[in-house]
C-alpha cells in the first residue's frame, strides 16, 4: 500500500512512523488476542503467564538464559549475513553441523583433560558450521543457487547426517534410539551453576560474540565493506570491494557462530547429539534478525524477549490448558506487523 504524498507529509503520519516498534508489539498482541478469543481464552491471562512464567522460579530464569544463548549466537551470525544482503536460511543446518563437529571432537578425546576437550569441541563446532556455510556460499557464487534454497537443502542434508550418526556409527550401545547418540561421559559436561541446568560459559560466549560483531560491523573496514555489498553490490564492485570474497566471509562467520551454538547445545544442554539438535532455534533467530534488521544492538533485547515467550509458554498447558505453541503465534505476528510497518515506512521514501 502506498500512501498519497499529502498524507505522508502530515504530522500524525510521521509520529506514527516514529512509534513503529511499539505499534508492532501492539499489533502482534492484537492478532494473538484474536486467535486466543476464538478458543474462548482470556488473552490478558495468557500474556501474563507468558511473561511471568519465564521468571517464576530460578530454574525458569536459567532456562530462559539457556535458550537465549543459542538464539543470540545464531542471530548474531545472521546479522552479518543480513548486513551483506543475504538470507542465510541454512543457519539451522549450520547449527546441526556445529553440534556434529563438537560431538566428533569429544568422541575422539574422551580421556583428555576436560578444558582442552571443551576448547577443541567448541572449535570443532565453529569449523563444522563454517564449512557448512561455505558450501552455501559456493553454491550461491559458483552454482548460481540462491542462498535461501541452498541453505534449506543443506538443512535437510544436515538432519540426514545427524540421523545417520544417531542410528549408525554413534548409536547408543544396545539399541539405537531417536533420543540421541551415546551420551557424553559426565566429566565432559560443561560445568553448571549449582542447582541449575545453566552452564554460564554459553551466555558469556554469546555476549562476547555479540559485542565483537557489533563492533566489527560498526567500526571496522571489513564491517563497512560487508554493509556496502549488502546495500549495493554493483557500486561496491565499482569501488573495488572484493564482493565475492566478502560474501563467502560473511556466510562463514555466520556459520561459525551457528556452529558454536550447536556445539554448546551438545556440551551444555543435551550432552548428546539428538536428531533435531537445532530445534528450530535458527529459524527463530531469523525472526529476531528480521525484527532487528541490521541493528546489532537490538539483537539482545529481542532475543531475550523471544526466549521469555518461549519458556513462558511452557507454563500454558499447566495453568490455562492451552497449547504452548501460542508463543510461536505471538513471535510470528510480531515479525509480520514489524515488517508491514517497515514496508509502509519505505514506501514513504
Amino acid at each position: 500500500m502506498v500512501f498519497p504524498k499529502d498524507i505522508q507529509e502530515r504530522r500524525w503520519f510521521k509520529i506514527v512512523m516514529q512509534l513503529q516498534p511499539v505499534l508492532a508489539l501492539l499489533g502482534a498482541l492484537l492478532i494473538t488476542s484474536l486467535v486466543l478469543l476464538t478458543s474462548d481464552t482470556n488473552p490478558i491471562e495468557v500474556f501474563r503467564v507468558l511473561v511471568v512464567g519465564a521468571f517464576s522460579t530460578p530454574i525458569k530464569i536459567s532456562d530462559t538464559i539457556a535458550l537465549t544463548t543459542p538464539l543470540l549466537l545464531c542471530a548474531t551470525g545472521l546479522v552479518i549475513t543480513f548486513a551483506a544482503g543475504m538470507y542465510n536460511l541454512g543457519v539451522e543446518g549450520q547449527m546441526a553441523m556445529g553440534a556434529v563437529g563438537a560431538m566428533a571432537v569429544t568422541r575422539m578425546l574422551e580421556t583428555a583433560p576436560p578444558p582442552l576437550v571443551w576448547a577443541l569441541a567448541l572449535l570443532g563446532g565453529i569449523l563444522g558450521g563454517a564449512i557448512w556455510a561455505i558450501i552455501v556460499a559456493c553454491l550461491k557464487l559458483f552454482g548460481r543457487i540462491s542462498e535461501i534454497f541452498a541453505g534449506m537443502g543443506l538443512n535437510f542434508l544436515a538432519t540426514g547426517v545427524c540421523l545417520y550418526l544417531v542410528f549408525g556409527p554413534w548409536k547408543r550401545p544396545g539399541t539405537a534410539s531417536m533420543s540421541g547418540t551415546q551420551p557424553l561421559p559426565e566429566h565432559l559436561w560443561l560445568p553448571t551453576l549449582s542447582g541449575l541446568r545453566l552452564a554460564p560459559l554459553g551466555p558469556i560466549l554469546a555476549l562476547i560474540a555479540l559485542a565483537i560483531v557489533w563492533f566489527v560491523l560498526a567500526r571496522t573496514k571489513w564491517g563497512l565493506s560487508i554493509r556496502a555489498i549488502g546495500n549495493n553490490m554493483n557500486a561496491s564492485e565499482r569501488m573495488g570491494i572484493p564482493s565475492t570474497r566478502r560474501m563467502i566471509e560473511a556466510l562463514a562467520c555466520c556459520g561459525a557462530l551457528a556452529g558454536l551454538a550447536g556445539a554448546l547445545q551438545v556440551l551444555a544442554v543435551f550432552h548428546t547429539l539428538i536428531p533435531n539438535i537445532s530445534s528450530g532455534i535458527g529459524l527463530l533467530a531469523l525472526l529476531v534478525v528480521l525484527l532487528a534488521n541490521t541493528r546489532a544492538a537490538w539483537i539482545l533485547p529481542i532475543s531475550v524477549l523471544f526466549a521469555v515467550f518461549t519458556v513462558g509458554s511452557t507454563q500454558l498447558p499447566l495453568t490455562l490448558q492451552i497449547d504452548s505453541s501460542i508463543s510461536g503465534v505471538l513471535q510470528g505476528a510480531l515479525v509480520l506487523t514489524a515488517l508491514a510497518l517497515r514496508g509502509l515506512k519505505s514506501n514513504k521514501a
Partner: protein, 514 residues
C-alpha cells in the same frame, strides 16, 4: 480505430516524461514516433497501453474518452503493445502463450487456440511453430507471436516499441510487410523507433518527441527531409558553436591503446577495433544509446573481456585485467545510473570515503610491505578499523571543494542527481589514469553540468585520459578533443573536433555513411 491524445502528461518525480502531448493517430496508417532515448516515447506508449497511469490529459478512441488503467483494459478497448523485449512466459510453448495470454472465454480450447494461431500467422506470413518453447524462439519470432496474440485478442491499435532492435534483416522485412498489411486492413499502427531510415521506409506520418514534448509542428506527413527530423530529435545547432571553449591541450601521452579488439555483449558485437585514447585527451563517444558505446566503456573498465585483440594501458598489457585490477591501475568508471551502479544509496558521504580509504590503504600497504616492526603491527591493527575522523574530514573537504549540497552524514539517496554526480567525482582517486564516464551530465541542472565539466577538464589537463559517452550532441561537440561515432555496433574512425559540425555528427549518428 482512431487514437487521439490530448494534453497527455506523465511525471516521474521532478522529471516530466510526457509534457502535455497532443497527437492524433488515424486508422489505416502507420505512424512513426521518433525520438532519442529518454525523449518520452516509451512513456507515451505505456500510457496508451495501460502500463502506466497518466497524471493529466485524456485519451480517446474513435471519439470516446477512455480510461486505460491496466494493460488488460487497454487490450479490451483494442490497444495492444509489443514490447522491445516481448512479455511472454519462456517456459510455455507458443501455443500455451496464446492460450493463457488471451482474454477469458475468447479461446474455448487449446484446439481453438491452435487454429487461431495458425490462421493468423499464416495471414501475416509469419512462421511460428505452435509447439516450440518460447525460450528457444528468437526475439523476432517472439515478436511475431506477440503480434498474433494481440490480434487474436482483438487489438485494433498495435504499438511496437523499437521492434527492429535485435531481430534479423529478414525478420524486419517480414515485420514491415505484416505492418503494411495490417494498416491496409484498417488497423492503426504506432511504430516507435529512433532509426530514421525505418521510419522513412514504412511510416505514413511521423511525430518527433524530445524531452517529453512534441517537437516541430506536431504530426507531420512523410516523407520529411532527414536533416529536419534530426534537428527536431537532437535540437538546433545554432548556439553550440560559440560555446566551444578553447582550452589548453596537454601533450597527449600514455592512455589506452587497443589493437584488433573484438568484443561481444548481448546484441552488440564490436569487431576488430584499433583505437587510442591518449592521456590528456577527452574523447567523446557519440551515437544512439545502445549502439556500442556502453560496451566499449565497460570493456575499458574491465567489466567485460575482449574475445580477441590486445588492450594496453600506459604501455602495459591489461587485456585480461578485471575491473578491480584496473581500478588499482587508476582506471575509474562512472556509470550512467549513479544510484544503481555508482554509489551506495543508504551510505553517507563519510561512509563512502571510509570505504574508499580501505582501497587506498590496501594499495599503499602492498607498495611498502618491507619492514615489519612492533610499531608496524600496531599500525596494522589500526588499519583494520575505520578512521571515521579522516573520513569525515575528507567528506567535509569534498563538500567544500565540489560544492555538494549535503552534509557528511546525509545518505546519498537523499541528494539530487547533480550532487550525486559531484560526489562521484569527489570520490575519484588522485592517481586516476583513465576516466570512463557514461552520460556524465544526464539529468543534471546547468550549474552542476558545468561543474562536472570543469572537473573533467582539470583531470584531463593533469594527464588523465577521459572517455565519455553522451546522448547530447552539444555536449559531445563542446568538450571532446576527438569524437568516435557508433552506429549499430560499428565504430567510426576517430574524428578530430575541428572536422566536425553539428549536422555532420547528426548524420553519422543516424547511420549515414556506415
Amino acid at each position: 480505430m482512431e487514437v487521439v491524445v490530448t494534453n497527455l502528461t506523465k511525471t516521474f518525480g521532478s522529471l516530466r516524461a510526457n509534457d502535455s502531448i497532443s497527437l492524433r493517430f488515424a486508422a489505416g496508417q502507420i505512424h512513426g514516433v521518433l525520438g532519442e532515448n529518454g525523449a518520452g516515447k516509451s512513456t507515451l506508449m505505456k500510457l496508451l497501453s495501460g502500463f502506466l497511469k497518466r497524471d493529466g490529459g485524456s485519451i480517446s478512441l474513435d471519439g470516446q474518452v477512455v480510461e486505460l488503467d491496466t494493460p488488460a483494459e487497454a487490450l479490451r478497448a483494442g490497444i495492444g503493445m509489443v514490447h522491445q523485449d516481448p512479455l511472454d512466459v519462456p517456459a510455455f510453448t507458443a501455443l500455451e502463450n496464446i492460450y493463457f495470454g488471451s482474454q477469458r472465454h475468447q479461446l474455448p480450447s487449446l484446439q481453438a487456440a491452435r487454429k487461431a494461431l495458425l490462421e493468423q500467422s499464416q495471414a501475416l506470413a509469419f512462421s511460428i511453430d505452435p509447439d516450440t518453447r518460447i525460450s528457444s524462439l528468437s526475439v523476432g519470432q517472439r515478436q511475431q507471436l506477440e503480434i498474433v496474440r494481440l490480434l487474436i485478442c482483438g487489438a485494433r491499435v498495435l504499438i511496437l516499441d523499437e521492434p527492429t532492435t535485435g531481430i534479423t534483416a529478414a525478420q524486419s522485412r517480414a515485420l514491415f510487410n505484416a505492418l503494411r498489411q495490417l494498416a491496409a486492413e484498417g488497423k492503426t499502427v504506432l511504430f516507435v523507433s529512433h532509426k530514421l531510415e525505418e521510419v522513412a521506409e514504412i511510416c505514413h506520418t511521423v511525430s518527433v518527441l524530445r524531452a517529453g514534448k512534441v517537437m516541430g509542428e506536431g504530426q507531420m506527413m512523410m516523407p520529411q527531409p532527414q536533416e529536419k527530423l534530426l534537428e527536431l530529435m537532437f535540437g538546433t545547432a545554432a548556439s553550440s558553436h560559440q560555446k566551444q571553449t578553447l582550452r589548453q591541450r596537454a601533450t597527449p601521452q600514455g592512455g589506452w591503446s587497443l589493437s584488433n579488439v573484438s568484443v561481444r555483449e548481448g546484441p552488440i558485437n564490436l569487431q576488430n577495433i584499433s583505437l587510442d585514447f591518449r592521456g590528456g585527451e577527452i574523447t567523446g563517444l557519440a551515437g544512439l544509446e545502445g549502439s556500442g558505446q556502453q560496451t566499449l566503456l565497460r570493456l575499458l573498465a574491465g567489466r567485460i573481456r575482449p574475445q580477441s585483440g590486445q588492450i594496453k594501458l600506459n604501455g602495459v598489457d591489461v587485456t585480461n585485467c578485471n575491473s578491480r585490477e584496473l581500478l588499482q591501475r587508476g582506471v575509474e568508471y562512472l556509470p550512467a545510473d549513479r544510484l544503481h551502479d555508482g554509489l551506495i544509496g543508504s551510505f553517507t558521504l563519510t561512509e563512502h570515503f571510509a570505504l574508499l580509504a580501505d582501497n587506498h590503504a590496501a594499495s599503499d600497504a602492498s607498495q611498502a610491505n618491507s619492514k615489519q616492526t612492533a610499531q608496524d603491527s600496531k599500525h596494522k591493527l589500526r588499519r583494520l578499523l575505520v578512521d571515521w575522523q579522516s573520513a569525515l574530514q575528507a567528506a567535509e573537504q569534498a563538500i567544500a571543494a565540489y560544492r555538494i549540497k549535503a552534509t557528511p552524514s546525509s545518505p546519498i539517496v537523499s541528494l539530487s542527481g547533480g550532487n550525486q554526480q559531484r560526489a562521484l567525482l569527489a570520490l575519484l582517486s588522485n592517481k586516476c589514469q583513465g576516466l570512463l564516464l557514461e552520460q556524465p551530465t544526464r539529468g543534471l541542472d546547468i550549474a552542476s553540468a558545468e561543474m562536472v565539466w570543469q572537473q573533467l577538464i582539470a583531470r584531463s589537463e593533469s594527464g588523465t585520459a577521459v572517455v565519455f559517452a553522451s546522448a547530447d550532441l552539444d555536449e559531445i561537440l563542446e568538450y571532446s578533443d576527438r569524437v568516435i561515432v557508433f552506429f549499430g555496433g560499428k565504430v567510426s574512425a576517430p574524428l578530430e573536433r575541428a572536422q566536425l559540425s553539428h549536422s555532420l555528427l547528426g548524420e553519422l549518428i543516424g547511420g549515414v555513411g556506415f
